[in-house]
Symmetry: C2
Subunit: 325 residues, 2 copies
């Protein structure tokens, strides 16, 4: 931490690891507080899929849409005010249509696919999409190569979106793995950002299917053990605000709680945040050999996102420099 | 014609050559009168284009949409009741958006592209699209290979859609050619249909950019000289109902008229139909060594399309068997 102490606040580099909606919300708050030079957002691509020949990156898009203001904040996915006339026409053409892509949302996937086919990497294409959406902060897909999340369930091995969207997270999970068990590579840009990070922030995303895909890439978990890492629990009062995280904990034999999340990250996280409703869990989390604080973590609008992000950044700075920002 | 005379009416094979809106209207009328076993519709693909990585076949789609009832009959292109939210999102992403594809229309191009990428030919893909739209008649793209129409104009050589949509047909045409001057191949299915045709019907489509592409494919024009061919003029009272046909005649040094169309086809057409408003041109057309008749040819709804088609089929049958259907 000596290196951090020698830096002033505006010299610190932050990397946020994000998955879907919860992660995008905290990333939004962080981006409102930190300039692009200080914040890089690394996003899960384990749930990417092909849709009608188009490359869809649901978590990357949730971050892009949230930071650009395009997001449909009510549904938690897709573009605000979107329509589904394309989907209706596909259905009329007997195309399987359980995966719902709106007419506006589709434009992102069309442009992404066109740019990928022109030879750009997913990292380059994501940067171009972000630029066109007016986003200044670097948003990095975790990898340029496909690295699909696979779920071994009581209904067989399922692709993530088949489990998540088609089957409404109903199958019981036995095991989660990636890329048929073959190790994946983070992009060079992700490895560089992590190497230069003074603080890595694990956003309140699903540990198993949003954060774990990033952690499971070659060398990432080892690298995080050498960085200062802090995390915000996606579990509040034993439940996930959105998505199947709590259900997954139960199916994997762990009672879902903020403590269970902290325990899951204990080998590399030094500072853990629980929601203010979960102060009762703080003592047990402190026993995992990490600092723990309680903050408001429900973030419907930019105001709360900035507040949560600000409390986390302040806490990091105080804990490890002894100076308040 | 002896072969025709030996056949009964329900044994005759018809092939309609069609381009855009006018051609699709007559094809619609023909399809309402003739069973799928007797009618094959061959469609121009010279104005096909790539749009955001998707394969768009404007004339094939006009025929598909017209025969399936999907067509937007007011605009003359695209799908009825379509919306343009995808286009709006593409524009927001700084994508050039002069070519307007609606949200529903897009579904056709997405499915076409997906099926083409799976290894099917354009002929197979078009048959599959037609099947999914509930169309029983064979609709054949003229070729499985790209064969782009190019226009040499006062603004340089332009792709068809750049001339037609982006530049609103404003450039002055000097010459029309295809595929950089390299001869194209009709599909085997088209050659088979033409070989088996007792009567080839040139629909009221633009002679230069809808019918000529088909005629310019290897062996097609020679084959048509051996078949019985009849044509309906796309020019009425010196004007085209839609599109740049009359303007093209003028720029190529010919006064636009039904007679000019008949003259253009005189080497292989035996029976020519003018609109009833153009009876004054009949005598001059008869001097081109072809039979000529005047019929109503404005076909806004299926009722008029069937009437026009019926008059043409009756006339063919009477002329060359002496028997009325």
């Amino acid at each position: 931490m000596n290196e951090i102490k020698r830096k002033s606040a505006d010299q610190l580099n932050y990397v946020a690891l994000a998955g879907g909606v919860g992660g995008a919300k905290l990333a939004h708050g962080l981006a409102a507080l930190l300039p692009p030079e200080q914040l890089t957002i690394v996003v899960n691509t384990g749930d990417d899929m092909q849709y009608m020949g188009l490359q869809v990156c649901p978590d990357v898009d949730t971050v892009l849409y949230t930071l650009s203001g395009w997001a449909n904040t009510q549904s938690g996915w897709g573009v605000a005010g979107d329509t589904f006339n394309n989907l209706g026409a596909l259905a009329a053409l007997d195309v399987d249509h359980w995966f719902r892509i709106g007419d506006k949302d589709l434009a992102t996937h069309m442009l992404r696919t066109l740019l990928l086919e022109s030879g750009l990497t997913l990292t380059q294409v994501t940067a171009e999409l972000a630029r066109r959406m007016g986003i200044a902060h670097p948003i990095l897909p975790m990898s340029d190569a496909p690295y699909p999340t696979l779920l071994e369930t009581n209904q067989g091995v399922l692709d993530f979106q088949v489990y998540f969207v088609k089957n409404h997270c109903e199958p019981v999970i036995k095991r989660i793995f990636w890329n048929d068990g073959k190790e994946g590579q983070a992009s060079p840009q992700v490895m560089l950002a992590l190497n230069e990070a003074d603080c890595v922030i694990l956003c309140p995303s699903n540990p198993f299917v949003s954060i774990d895909p990033i952690l499971s890439l070659k060398g990432v978990r080892d690298l995080l053990r050498e960085r200062f890492c802090m995390a915000l629990s996606p579990i509040i009062q034993g439940k996930a605000l959105k998505g199947p995280a709590a259900k997954m904990f139960s199916e994997l034999g762990v009672v879902p709680s903020a403590h269970a999340v902290a325990d899951y990250y204990k080998d590399f996280v030094s500072l853990f945040f629980v929601d203010e409703l979960d102060q009762a869990e703080m003592a047990a989390i402190a026993e995992l050999d990490m600092a723990v604080e309680a903050i408001p973590s429900i973030m419907p609008t930019l105001k709360e996102r900035k507040q949560t992000a600000s409390l986390m950044l302040d806490s990091f700075f105080q804990h490890f420099t002894g100076v308040s920002t």
